[in-house]
Structure formats: structure tokens, C-alpha cells
């Protein structure tokens, strides 16, 4: 099968790759670009572990073709921290013990970041519904919701620029 050449931007960097037409963006990230932070929990858009943003829009990368990324702007978990500075969400997830096994954590962080960009002061209800597409089997979500609430409060306080 002839591959397709794709030029795109990932976490601010220009990236080029060749992929097969039926290859998902998730497979491209993981298998061709060694960006294994996005996880495949289901491959059908039901678990959110592969969450990334494309042109700022939160999506499941398992439901995007690699060829579709041409000219787009992709952001993954690997781009969340700025150098040695963690994003407030990353810090709050650690402080609140909002992860146990950690497999769902990248997806939650990417999704929560997208939420706080759209809605800096979400209610618990809004957080829970926004994150309903991110499955966590370890925590029962309690500490995840609290971590997002706390990160939102901190970011609203402006103490740490995100």
C-alpha cells in the first residue's frame, strides 16, 4: 500500500510523516512518532484515553485518520508541560492523588485542559459531563473532579499562567 505524505504541526513543532490511508492519528502518534502518551483503551471512541486536540478541538485520536492531520495543529499530552513547569492540572492531579494506575491520566488532562480553556469556572456537574467520555476504572472519579476544580480555581486566581 502506498503511503501518504503528511505535513502537520504537533505541540508547536512542524512534523512530517508517511502513513497508510487507513491508519489512525493515534497509531501515527504512537507508532511512527514515538508519542506514546496518548493510549488506546478501546479504539472506538468510548474511553477517551487517546484524547488530543486538533485545531484546538478535543477529539479521540483513534477516530481521526493520520492523513486528516495534514495542515492541522495537533496537541498531545507531551505538550502540556512547558519545559520543567507542569501545567496546573498536572500538579493538581498529583496533589489530589487523582490517578492510581495512570493509564487514563493523559486523556483526562488533555480533556480537562480543553474544558478550562472554554469554561474557566465549571461547576462539578459541568466537569463530570465534559469528562464523561474519559473512562477511569481506578478512582471512581472523585479525586479527578476535585483536582480539576482545584486547578480551575488556581488558574482563575492567576497565580500560575497556564
Amino acid at each position: 500500500m502506498a503511503g501518504t505524505h503528511v505535513k502537520t504541526t504537533i505541540n508547536g513543532d512542524s512534523v512530517e510523516y508517511v502513513c497508510e490511508a487507513d491508519e489512525t492519528l493515534l497509531d501515527v502518534l504512537r507508532n511512527r512518532l514515538a508519542l506514546t502518551g496518548a493510549k488506546e483503551g478501546c479504539g472506538t471512541g468510548d474511553c477517551g484515553a487517546c484524547s488530543v486536540t486538533v485545531d484546538g478541538r478535543l477529539v479521540c485520536s483513534c477516530l481521526v485518520l493520520g492523513v486528516e492531520a495534514e495542515g492541522r495543529n495537533v496537541a498531545t499530552i507531551e505538550g502540556l508541560a512547558q519545559g520543567e513547569h507542569l501545567h496546573p492540572l498536572q500538579r493538581k492531579f498529583l496533589e489530589h492523588a487523582a490517578l492510581q494506575c495512570g493509564i487514563c491520566t493523559p486523556g483526562f488532562l488533555v480533556a480537562a485542559k480543553a474544558l478550562l480553556e472554554k469554561n474557566p469556572d465549571p461547576s462539578e456537574h459541568e466537569i463530570r459531563f465534559w469528562l464523561a467520555g474519559n473512562l477511569c476504572r481506578c478512582t471512581g472519579y472523585d479525586k479527578i473532579v476535585r483536582a480539576v476544580q482545584d486547578a480551575a480555581a488556581e488558574m482563575r486566581g492567576g497565580r500560575h499562567a497556564a
Partner: protein, 755 residues
């Protein structure tokens, strides 16, 4: 293991009981942590598995010649690539690669390794399997019928006298208890008997099984795998492949959830066989569909539960019949499940009879307190019904019968200090228990128990030149246990938590460790860590003694320093761990602490859950309004992760109670092998999960620690059922209590009232 005097009194801790950040945290919030599917190797091939589309079929032949001829295909394996055996690993052998018959839909029949996923996919289609489809059975009651389709023509029921002459699907009969139940029921003022059914569920870990195998022509191999027990993987795989155990090195990756489901092998021996045949590394990753169809879900059950009580609520007798199907092979946890499920109360008379039954479903694997939630569902439902009938407060009713120190358990031992009474009191004192309920709302209470395991454990603690420590443990960390290990080492040594770094060592670097299961890690690896630290401390004191020229016994260790034990020992400046580390080369070389043992006296953990729900009477939809977990942790080493275990277990139990189930079609095929229709709770389904940590120290651990991981899933099914039953005014006896089931029960009730 001698009891530590420290636990006999309230002990003050410097670090245990605090909530520091976990050592593996940064990697997990940045995407750097390497899980099962995240590894690669030079020349790596993609492994894919061909699975049976039939629930039960004889495999007449497998023709892989076309697949083998496809360019890019480097190896095809079938059962012919594994030597047959007759020992206790045979079931595992037959489960990982069908021999003669496919016993369930999804059963592995062949596998390929190819240069790409698309080539592997094509190759699978080119393998021709000639099946003779056989009648199948997936229901436990039907499988026990005399004319049921037979899975194994050599399966003779054990535990029955006289020994049956004919094979059946009943692998085992068990029976335990004490007293005389007939007498007990004769003394009772009220006897309630109900039948219950529970559907199979899946652990639902978000990370599918994944491994990267590499075997060379020299017979040496390496395996990277997400597992709860890499020593188990090594030992089983080496035997199935005929390798020396020493020649297979297994590294446990970060693990994306297990809950018992990663305590056995599925793809690992297949990946190794493919790699050996291809002479190249092979990565095999299950799809979610494969995880549901072909890993190890729970048993489904059918149960009868009969309990007699006096008017005041005191139990006089319990009689239970438990039927658990465990998929295509013997091993349904009717024994442990039954024992744990009845363990909360003091019964003058009790008899439990259980059957372990095989069906055409995937072989069950452990799931958090394996088998216990089902029996507990039956026990706690009947207890609730009795409390309702006698108009007793459900917590008072339980307190009257609660197991406590000195109670003889149904499964044999007499309990030491345990915390059920304390959890019941904590539940009663909690504000949630006092909230007034509205229309269509109901409250449910249930208690639960898990034994907790100890097991074989080995730990190594190595002092670095700067006074920091490298802690090697052999039990994969699923929920933050490395943080707890570091806390205990730091506590014992009297040094900052940050100065200890824990890793999960590979099988060639550390002695044997049992699987991470049975809620054993914080208890057993934790205790080994404490003893390894004490071993190191002894050596450190020896080095200080050598420097000071005084006897070793004259040196004590206090908060990170070696000190003379008193004025008579001499007047020396205390020597810090850092100094001792820096001088190690001059005082005798490297300093390390080790400990290896078979841990006992794990100390069970009891819990009481309180849940309020609201049921929409027109649709049968259940909303969980509030949820409280009160559980005995003995001593919470890292309270955040203890709470996390409580909350996670409770929510898994809520899923089991309300919506999770394996749905089989008449063709014996699983109809909902995905997260779309296998409905685990999502964030918007739930309230915050309130927790109360009860601490009744376990005398079997130096700090009083008890395992906490499993008990939390035992009460929820019953608690939710009791709450729903109270909300709708009908006793529900089947899980999951999905909306169609609740609405049907409401309709039947309306019809009865009308009729």
C-alpha cells in the same frame, strides 16, 4: 512472624499517614510512563491472534499454508507449537491456545507475526480452520442439567462421595460451616429465603493486555508485559515453552489497571512462541473487543440464601446454595467467594454448599475480592429484608450479629481484632446516614469482608553514596504502592520520603514475589520493606560501631542517625545516614538491607457502605445521590491512596449493581464486547464518594497495616440493591438492576396490585 510490640499501643508516626506525591507521578501526568503497549524493539514484528467465532466447536483442522506464504508473515503458531502436558498448568495451556476444541467464542486457535498490522490482519484471514460446531451452554443453571452440552468429557466432579462415574460440567462441590442449621431454623422467629442471580462482569481495566516478547535461538528470552505478577508470568511461560526459568527475564511495565484480571497469562506465551519461531521481537496487544471476549471476566451466579432470626434480629442460622460458573475451565471462586460473602456475621449455625461449574464462556479470572460480592449480595439483601420486616434499624441489626474479635468464622478461623463494628458505628455517625430522603428515594446499607493475603515476598534496599536509597520491590504497583513503600522505608530509617526511590525490579534482579493480588502489597511488600530497612539499620549501626570502636549493640538508630546507646557506650557525635553512606567504602563496602519471607497474618478488612438512590418510577433509571464507604485500613500508610481504593472499589461495585453485564446471544456469542455497551460508570453517573477510614491495627504488621484494595467492592451490589428496593418498594434479586429490569418489576407489582 513475631508480632511487633509497636502495634500493641498507639504509635506516633513521622511520615506514615501523610500524603506525599507519588514517585511515579510525574511520568504519569506527562505521558512519559511506559505501559504495556508503549515498548518497541529493533526489528519488532506485530503479533495478531485468530479466535474462534463459535462458542463450542471441534477443530477438525487448521491450514495456515496460505498465511505462511504471504509476504511479510514471519511466523504462524497453533497448538502444535506447544507441547501438551498433564500437570496443573494444562488448563492454562489449553486456554491460551485451543487444543482439539474451541471452548468459547474468542478462544485462541492460531496466531501470526508479521511485519505490519495490515499484513498480520490479512494473514489471519488466510488461515483456514475447519470447525464442527457443537451445542453450547453459557448459563450456570443450564450447564448443571444432566443433558447439558458437555465441555470436557473427562471432568468428574470433585468433593462428592461416592465419586461420580460420569463426567459433567460440575467441576467441584464445596461445603463448609458449623452447627446444625435445621435446629437453628427451628429456633428462628422469622426465616427469609430468596433466590438470586448475578451476571458476569469484567474488571474493565482501561489498558488492554500487551506484551513485547523476544526469544533468541540461544534459548534466552525477554518479555516486557503489563501484569500483576511478572514472576508468575515468567514461571508459567517458561514451563509452557519448555524454557529454563533462568533464561526468561520478565520486566513488568507500568500497568494500566488489573483488579485481578492480570493475574494470569493470555497473550504472553503466544508472543514468546511467535518470537521464538520468527527469531525476532514480537509485540502483541489485545484490542478492547479481545479483552472482553478472551480475557478473564467474573463468574455469573445463581444462589439460594436462607437466613433465620429471632425477633430481636439475632441470627440463628444461615443456609446457602451457591452456583458459580467460571467459564470453560474449573476454578470459579465459589469457595473464597462464599467464605468471604458470609464472613460479616456470627452464626450459631451455618451451612454453605457451593458448585464450581464450567460453561462455554472465557475462563474467569480474579476480580477484586473474587467471588465475594455475589454471595454478599445475597446475604446482605436477606439481612436487609429481615431488618425491614422486623422494623429494626439496619445498622443495629448488623451490630447485633457483627463478627468481632473471638467470633468463629464460617470458614474456620476465629477472628482476632477486626473492625466491622467500628465501620458500622462510623456509618451510623456519618451525616449521610441522617439525610432525610425524598420521594422515590431509598437508602441501602451493606457490609463486606475480604481475607487479605500475605504471600511470598522479597525486597532489596540499597544505600547510595549520597545517603539516598534505592528500593527494589517485586510486586507491580497498580495504585500508588511505590509511594507507600517509600513512606515505610523513610519512616523506619528516619529520613525524608524523597530520599527513597522505589522501583519494580525485573525477575532477574530480585527474588521471587507472588502476584500483586489479595490486597497484599502494602501489607506484605510493606512489611518486607520495613524489615529490609531494619536489616540495613543493623548494618549501619555496625559500621558506626566499627568507626567508634564500640560494640555493635552499643549503637542505636534514631531518626536517621546512628547514636551511642547511652552514656556508657561513649560520647560520640551522632553519625548521619549520609555520612555512613559516604564512608561505606572505607568501613566494609556497600550497605544494603534485604528481606524475603512468606507473609502471614494479613488481617482482614471489613467495610460498611451506605448509599442513597433515586429511582425514576416511569423509566427505571437509578441515580446515585450519595455514597459512603467506611472501611478498616488497620493503619492508612498513604491516606489518599487508601481513599482511592475505597472510592474505586465502590464505583466498580455500583457499575456491577446497575448496568454492567455480559450479554450472550442464543448463539453463545458475546453481544457487548466494547465500552459502548458494556457500561462502566462514567463521571457524570456519580456523586463524590465519601470515605471514612477506620483504623483497627492489624497485630500481624509492625505498623498495624491491613490490605484495603478488595473489600471495597464487596458491599456495593447489595447496598445499591437495598437502596433501590427501598426506593421502589420491591425486593430486587438479580443484578444488574438495569432500567428494563426495574421497570419490569414495577410493572409486575402494579399488575399484582391491580389484580
Amino acid at each position: 512472624m513475631p508480632l511487633d510490640p509497636a502495634t500493641q499501643k498507639i504509635r506516633a508516626f513521622d511520615q506514615v499517614g501523610t500524603r506525599p506525591l507519588r514517585p511515579d507521578g510525574l511520568d504519569k501526568v506527562t505521558g512519559r510512563a511506559r505501559f504495556g503497549a508503549d515498548a518497541t524493539a529493533p526489528g519488532m514484528l506485530v503479533g495478531r491472534i485468530l479466535r474462534s467465532p463459535h462458542a463450542h466447536a471441534r477443530i477438525r483442522s487448521i491450514d495456515a499454508t496460505k498465511a505462511e506464504a504471504l509476504p511479510g508473515v514471519k511466523a504462524v503458531v497453533t497448538s502444535k507449537d506447544f507441547a501438551d502436558r498433564s500437570d496443573d498448568l494444562r488448563d492454562i495451556l489449553v486456554n491460551i491456545m485451543a487444543r482439539g476444541k474451541a471452548l468459547y467464542e474468542g478462544h485462541t486457535v492460531a496466531a501470526v507475526a508479521a511485519t505490519s498490522a495490515s499484513v498480520a490482519r490479512k494473514a489471519l484471514k488466510l488461515i483456514k480452520v475447519d470447525y464442527e460446531v457443537l451445542p453450547h451452554v453459557t448459563d450456570v443453571d443450564l450447564a448443571m442439567e444432566p443433558d447439558a452440552p458437555l465441555l470436557h468429557d473427562d471432568l468428574i466432579t470433585s468433593g462428592v462421595e461416592p465419586v461420580p462415574t460420569k463426567p459433567s460440567n460440575i467441576a467441584r462441590k464445596i461445603e463448609f460451616g458449623h452447627g446444625d442449621v435445621d435446629k437453628g431454623f427451628a429456633e428462628a422467629d422469622l426465616v427469609v429465603e430468596r433466590e438470586f442471580k448475578t451476571e458476569a462482569t469484567h474488571q474493565g481495566y482501561i489498558e488492554p493486555h500487551a506484551c513485547l516478547a523476544s526469544v533468541g535461538s540461544d534459548g534466552q528470552g525477554e518479555l516486557w508485559v503489563c501484569t500483576q505478577g511478572h514472576y508468575m508470568v515468567r514461571d508459567v511461560c517458561a514451563q509452557l515453552l519448555g524454557m529454563d526459568v533462568s533464561k526468561l527475564r520478565v520486566t513488568a511495565s507500568e500497568i494500566g489497571g488489573g483488579f485481578g484480571g492480570k493475574t494470569t497469562v493470555f497473550i504472553e506465551p503466544v508472543a514468546l512462541a511467535l518470537s521464538r519461531k520468527a527469531g525476532r521481537p514480537v509485540k502483541v496487544v489485545m484490542t478492547r473487543d479481545e479483552v472482553f471476549r478472551a480475557s478473564g471476566p467474573t463468574s455469573s451466579t445463581s444462589m439460594r440464601m436462607k437466613i433465620g432470626v429471632k425477633k430481636d434480629g439475632r441470627i440463628t442460622a444461615l443456609d446457602a446454595l451457591l452456583k458459580y460458573q467460571g467459564g470453560a475451565f474449573a476454578g470459579a471462586p465459589v469457595d473464597y467467594g462464599g467464605m468471604a460473602g458470609v464472613a460479616c456475621y456470627d452464626y450459631p449455625n451455618i451451612r454453605v454448599v457451593g458448585y464450581d461449574v464450567v460453561t462455554n464462556r472465557p475462563k474467569q479470572a480474579a476480580y477484586r475480592a473474587p467471588g465475594a460480592p455475589m454471595t454478599a449480595f445475597a446475604v446482605e439483601s436477606v439481612i436487609a429484608e429481615i431488618a425491614d420486616t422486623l422494623k429494626l434499624d439496619p445498622i443495629e441489626m448488623r451490630l447485633k450479629n457483627a463478627a468481632k474479635e473471638g467470633t468463629k468464622s464460617a470458614y474456620g478461623p476465629t477472628f482476632g481484632p477486626v473492625g466491622l463494628v467500628e465501620t458500622l458505628k462510623a456509618a451510623k455517625a456519618h451525616p449521610n446516614y441522617k439525610v432525610k430522603l425524598g420521594k422515590n428515594q431509598g437508602r441501602g446499607i451493606a457490609s463486606g469482608f475480604w481475607f487479605n493475603f500475605g504471600g511470598q515476598t522479597c525486597v532489596s534496599l540499597n544505600l547510595n553514596i549520597d545517603g539516598t536509597l534505592a528500593l527494589a520491590v517485586g510486586t507491580p504497583d497498580i495504585g500508588g504502592s511505590r509511594a507507600s513503600m517509600c513512606l515505610m522505608a523513610a519512616e523506619e530509617l528516619g529520613i525524608p520520603y524523597e530520599n527513597v526511590r522505589a522501583i519494580i525490579a525485573d525477575t532477574s534482579s530480585l527474588g521471587y514475589n507472588d502476584v500483586t493480588d489479595g490486597s497484599r502489597v502494602t501489607f506484605a511488600s510493606g512489611m518486607a520493606t520495613i524489615h529490609a530497612a531494619r536489616d540495613a539499620i543493623k548494618k549501619l549501626c555496625g559500621r558506626a560501631a566499627k568507626v567508634w570502636g564500640i560494640p555493635e549493640e552499643a549503637v542505636v538508630w534514631e531518626k536517621g542517625f546512628a547514636k551511642p546507646s547511652g552514656a556508657n557506650a561513649g560520647n560520640f557525635e551522632p553519625m548521619s545516614l549520609k555520612e555512613l553512606a559516604a564512608n561505606a567504602a572505607k568501613t566494609g563496602g556497600p550497605i544494603a538491607g534485604h528481606y524475603e519471607y512468606n507473609a502471614e497474618n494479613a488481617g482482614p478488612s471489613f467495610a460498611t457502605h451506605v448509599v442513597d438512590v433515586e429511582v425514576d418510577p416511569e423509566t427505571g433509571f437509578t441515580k446515585v445521590l450519595r455514597y459512603l464507604v467506611c472501611q478498616d485500613a488497620g493503619k492508612a500508610v498513604h491516606p489518599s491512596y487508601v481513599e482511592g481504593q475505597f472510592q474505586g472499589g465502590a464505583v466498580q461495585g455500583i457499575g456491577w449493581a446497575l448496568n454492567e453485564e455480559y450479554i450472550y446471544g442464543a448463539d453463545g456469542r458475546l453481544q457487548n464486547a466494547g465500552f459502548l455497551d458494556y457500561r462502566i460508570p462514567v463521571a457524570s453517573d456519580l456523586p463524590m464518594i465519601d470515605t471514612a477510614i477506620v483504623e483497627v491495627p492489624n497485630p500481624g504488621h509492625p505498623y498495624g497495616v491491613r490490605g484495603v484494595g478488595e473489600t471495597s467492592i464487596v458491599p456495593p451490589m447489595a447496598a445499591v440493591s437495598n437502596a433501590v428496593s427501598h426506593a421502589v418498594g420491591i425486593r430486587l434479586t438479580e443484578s444488574p438492576m438495569s432500567p428494563p429490569r426495574i421497570l419490569k418489576a414495577l410493572g409486575e407489582q402494579a399488575a399484582r396490585k391491580a389484580g
